[in-house]
């Protein structure tokens, strides 16, 4: 069964939204993780400053993804949220806690350590859950009659735990790149040091995950013959790591962040090549999951008006606050 054009349009919108979410909320979650690795209050306040104008807008993409899935691919919405009931719960609680902690930590000296822990642990939890979900998706999600058919802890295996840890380190890397991009002086040096070992740690965890815990039989689910071109994405990812190393070595501030972005994008596209045409690997395809065209059409009118506005707003906020923190506010 081939997906309709409208289904492809909405699958594309959601795919872009997920990638944007990963990168945008990725860096601010990463800053939240790094936040917990220093006790220096000046560093901490500056780190908060680098993400203050963006973090909440970044999370809005998660709502776009959730609402978009329910509207355009109700089966995926139902299966995914059912399969990851407890992880999604932890994700939501983590997001709430970290969001509130962000706003409340400056209000009270006495409560500050509590909110700081909330911010750090919330960021860790949200990230780990996302990484574990990706790992579990790679191994496949069992579905019967359009509903999740596994157990509540079906996602809990060694491989997803490795991918969860991998994403914590990965987002921290993204966050360190962001801090380098947005700061100078002692904090920037601190972040450069973090990039050094975070990049290595991400590589080590990925290698260990695939060497020790990956179930290679799932690779047979994908028809690789017709999509050998997909190998270009892992290659780009490897090149991005090289670029990152050069950036750190020569202290070119924009390079670490943007190379990490390229690394994430190439990893994401590699997964896309592996999963297509499935939205829930390897049970529900795009065509099976799509709502009837009557629904997609109705939603389309709103989408073509609102998506450009969201894009323009996002670009607007980022350009208003561009440059290093402390110089670029206007």
């Amino acid at each position: 069964m081939e997906p309709s054009n409208l289904a492809l349009f909405w699958a594309g919108v959601i795919a872009v939204a997920i990638l944007l979410y990963t990168i945008l909320d990725g860096f601010d979650l990463g800053v939240g993780i790094l936040f917990g690795t220093t006790n220096d209050e000046a560093h901490r306040a500056k780190m908060m400053g680098t993400i203050a104008p963006y973090w909440d807008g970044n999370e809005t993409w998660l709502v776009v993804i959730g609402a978009g899935l329910f509207a355009a691919f109700p089966d995926v919405y139902a299966v995914f949220l059912g399969a990851f009931y407890l992880p999604v719960l932890l994700l939501l609680l983590g997001l709430i806690f970290r969001g509130v902690a962000f706003e409340f930590r400056f209000r009270s000296e006495r409560m500050r350590p509590f909110w700081d822990w909330g911010f750090f642990l919330g960021s860790m939890l949200v990230t780990f859950v996302q990484g574990a979900a990706v790992g579990a998706m790679i191994h496949g999600v069992p579905v019967t009659n359009g509903q999740y058919a596994g157990s509540p802890f079906g996602w809990l295996h060694p491989f997803p735990i490795f991918t969860g840890i991998g994403l914590v380190l990965g987002y921290a890397l993204l966050g360190a790149g962001w801090i380098v991009l947005k700061s100078d002086g002692a904090l920037r040096d601190w972040a450069y040091h973090r990039i050094h070992w975070l990049a290595r740690a991400v590589l080590v965890v990925l290698v260990l995950a695939f060497a020790l815990t990956f179930d290679y039989s799932v690779l047979a689910r994908t028809d690789w013959e017709s999509r050998r071109w997909g190998l270009v994405f892992p290659a780009i990812g490897a090149l991005a790591l090289v670029g990152m190393a050069i950036g750190v070595h020569r202290r070119r501030d924009p390079l670490p962040f943007w190379m990490t972005v390229v690394f994430f994008a190439s990893a994401y596209l590699s997964l896309g090549v592996m999963f297509w045409p499935y939205m829930i690997p390897y049970s529900v395809t795009v065509a099976q999951a799509a709502a009837p065209d009557a629904s997609l059409q109705f939603l389309f009118y709103g989408g073509v008006v609102i998506l450009p506005v969201i894009a323009a707003y996002t670009i607007g906020v980022y350009s208003v606050f561009r440059g290093k923190v402390g110089k670029g506010y206007g």
Binding site: D56, Y77, L93, G326
Partner: protein, 469 residues
């Protein structure tokens, strides 16, 4: 009543939605109030209105932020706990709720930013325009929520293909007659809630002898608004009752605690419904009044719950009491606002201390009425999740276990207890302090960080540590 995943999921949904609905209903009303007061300022040039506006703008921002935080959780509930419903009705409910998310995002992305941060950057006329658009935005947001819920109450414009409920006529789904009664009912409820709060805040300051000028604006405007809106609300409440009688007769019988079909029917004013034995204890009822209320004459036959098979009957206790609480609070608002206006006409409003206390203590009446109204509507719809099409017990995600839902419920209750206490504490602090200073721009703040406005600008973001601004 088994503690199975379906029952616990219902409790969880009721808990989450109850704590969520408070904030959007407050912001719908505050949005309209802010647009009104800004319009008055633009028309008269009176700086007093500006101070009142800036004060309520802060309350609006924090309440909007709390609404967003609790709303994110709602966006996932249908999938996590009600997977079968999401799958079967997603083709209709998905786009409706999708539009709501889009509307809210649009609002946040555009005019809300101007409203919070753009006072000095745009012309007064455009600023007023932005306020009006924010107010319209909050109303449209509620439009989609009510369209979705009205469809769950009285499903229209659908066909069933392969066991899935898919859209056949969007116009009927979005603009159906039930929706056109329930949406205004909800909007008026939101306006009344805010009107009561504005009035109560004014009364509070008069009692404490502070912010006299601003307090007078709040007191007089609030009283006038509530006095005008409450008769309209009673009328739309009546229309809502008519749709229930026509489309959901079992819910109507449950609200009336009418077990047996009667002709003419009595109206039970108060009772303790005894569901096990299908009777009312300690009933106080008025003969024939039930027929008058339902059908408009003294002799009509009104159906009782006995006409419905047991598996199709809603619970009686909650709809019966929730409805009476809602209607009772409506009458209380009528009494307070009209008597307050009478005192105002006699020039004794600000000196009648016992009545100022009454107005102050009446501040939560709107919130409680809204919650009671929703409990009437939602519990009364049982045992259906989509009336007549899908039973609640069949709508639950099949892989859920009792332990899962018990765990998530405990987590939500704990986290909400913490987050809610702080959110309410900051709103209380703002209200207690009153309109002391004008709202200032907060460096690093954007429209998507409304909680940053909960306090003064210096402490809001830690931006005192940066050299910018």
């Amino acid at each position: 009543m088994d503690f199975d995943p379906a029952f616990l999921s219902r409790i969880q949904f009721a808990f989450l939605i109850s704590f969520h609905i408070i904030f959007p209903s407050f912001t719908i009303g505050l949005g309209a109030w802010l647009a009104t007061i800004e319009g008055a300022r633009l028309a008269t040039g009176n700086p007093l209105y500006r101070r009142v506006f800036d004060f309520w703008l802060k309350v609006f921002a924090v309440s909007f932020g709390m609404g967003v935080v609790t709303g994110i959780v709602m966006a996932f509930q249908f999938g996590t706990n009600w997977g079968v419903m999401a799958q079967k009705t997603g083709a209709i409910q998905g786009p409706l709720l999708g539009y709501e998310a889009f509307t809210a995002f649009m609002l946040e992305a555009t005019f809300f930013g101007v409203m919070l941060l753009g006072r000095e950057r745009v012309s007064p006329r455009f600023y007023f325009f932005a306020c009006t658009m924010v107010s319209l935005g909050t109303m449209f947001s509620s439009f989609w929520i009510l369209a979705n819920n009205s469809w769950m109450q009285v499903p229209v414009g659908y066909t069933i293909v392969d066991g899935r409920i898919i859209p056949a006529d969007w116009r009927e789904i979005v603009l159906g007659p039930v929706m056109m009664v329930r949406w205004p009912h909800m909007l008026l409820a939101a306006f009344l809630t805010t009107g009561m709060c504005v009035m109560a805040t004014g009364a509070w300051y008069v009692l404490r002898g502070i912010h006299r000028a601003e307090a007078r604006v709040m007191l007089h405007w609030g009283l006038a608004l509530v006095a005008i809106l409450i008769p309209m609300q009673l009328y739309f409440g009546h229309l809502t009752g008519e749709y229930v009688l026509k489309h959901q007769p079992a819910k109507f019988a449950a609200i009336e605690a009418r077990w047996k079909t009667e002709q003419p029917a009595a109206e039970v004013l108060f009772a303790i419904p005894d569901e096990a034995n299908e009777r009312n204890l300690f009933a106080i009822s008025v003969p024939k009044l039930g027929s008058m209320i339902a059908s408009g004459n003294w002799t009509a036959k009104e159906v009782g719950l006995e006409e419905f098979p047991k598996e199709d009957r809603p619970p009686v206790l909650i709809p019966f009491f929730a409805f009476r609480i809602m209607a009772g609070l409506g009458l209380l608002m009528l009494a307070v606002s009209w008597f307050g206006n009478f005192l105002r006409w006699r020039g004794r409003l600000e000196t009648t201390r016992w009545f100022l206390w009454a107005m102050f203590l009446a501040f939560p009446s709107g919130f409680i009425a809204i919650l009671a109204g929703w409990f009437t509507a939602e519990v009364g719809r049982q045992p259906w999740i989509v009336y007549g099409l899908l039973r609640t017990k069949d709508a639950v995600t099949p892989s859920l276990t009792t332990g899962d839902v018990m765990f998530s419920l405990v987590c939500y209750v704990t986290v909400y207890a913490v987050v809610y206490s702080f959110g309410l504490y900051y709103i209380y602090k703002l209200l207690h302090e009153g309109p002391t200073e004008e709202a200032k721009a907060i460096p690093g703040a954007t429209a998507s960080r409304p909680l940053a406005f909960a306090d003064s600008a210096e402490t809001a973001t830690g931006s005192q540590l940066q050299d910018g601004a």
